[in-house]
Amino acid sequence: MSPRIADIWVYLAATPLLGLTITLLAYLGAYRIYERSGFTPLLNPVALAIIALVAALSATGTAYQTYFDGAQFVHFLLGPATVALAVPLYAQLRRMRQLLVPLAGALAAGSVTAIASAIGIAWLLGVSESSLLSLAPKSVTAPIAMGIAEKIGGVPSLTAVLVVATGVSGAVMAKYVLDALGIRDHGVRGFAVGIASHGIGTARAFQVSEQAGAFAGLGMGLNGVLTAILMPLMLALWRWL
């Protein structure tokens, strides 16, 4: 009996089917828990799914690369999903045109704060230089952040992990931070979350309202562009200081 099971395992481990299926099942299970809790931000489905998958892979001794051979089909959809952000963005066009100055100001403030505080805090806490450079672009969406990290001397795959951690922490904390500051406008709330915590924050914003989601998508897109431009300047400034 047991050799048969081993054969089946060898077969499954060699196809992308397993990695893809467990990714979907882990996320569905995590989402069910999130739903049952009444969508409390503390039980973020991305975080729950990642914990479950890391535990399962570690327990079975499966390498990340083997898993990713299957999961890459999910990862790939990040591209078309980014393009799809144009749709909610266009739906909010009228409101955004009225808010040109507030949006530009918020973008600049959020983007500079995200980069400067990440570098500053990590440096004060004695983080190694390669980890610090991997952390610096953490607030922008994974493909942009990894590109920036590579250019400035960080470790792109570590950046991907820190980007996801930032997204999850933004999705978890945003409600509490914004409530404490007394900010109620869904446009403002969404835009701030999108700037600070990219796609995962944007996904959370879409679960709250379409308006918050569209503004978050705008913040994420604009901050991706601005961070790519600002990063070399901010690093030069930090080195000079």
Binding site: L85, A106, V127, P143, A160, S169, G224
Partner: protein, 120 residues
């Protein structure tokens, strides 16, 4: 749905090609998003099927980050020494960025509103 998915992929492809051809400092999908946005603007409306497909894809946007996040297991060795400062930096910096962006936007919206009030 299939047509709308093809539309998204075509825009991404055009974005990727433009990035490579013009050596733009942006990822291809972001350029694709900007191009689709301009197309919708020129058209003046969102086709219903495109809207449905886009909303379906964006509803579970967070699922798409799971495979990259599981990559944390590759970095356990590095993180075992530095995880605490990195976690503190991520949490504090994210909260500060949310607060800075939201407070600035509210301030500028109020200034804009009071200026409009004066003009009247």
């Amino acid at each position: 749905m299939l047509g709308a998915l093809a539309t998204l992929l075509v825009y991404q492809l055009i974005g990727e090609v433009l990035v490579l051809a013009l050596a733009l400092p942006l990822p291809g999908p972001v350029v694709g998003m900007l191009l689709l946005f301009v197309s919708l603007w020129a058209k003046g409306a969102i086709p219903e099927k495109l809207r449905d497909t886009a909303n379906g894809l964006l509803q579970h946007l967070s699922l798409l980050f799971v495979p990259a996040g599981v990559g944390v297991m590759v970095h356990f060795a590095r993180l075992s020494g530095e995880w605490l400062p990195l976690v503190v930096a991520v949490l504090a910096s994210t909260a500060l960025a949310i607060a800075a962006a939201a407070l600035t936007m509210r301030l500028l919206m109020r200034q804009g509103a009071s200026r409009e009030g004066e003009a009247r």
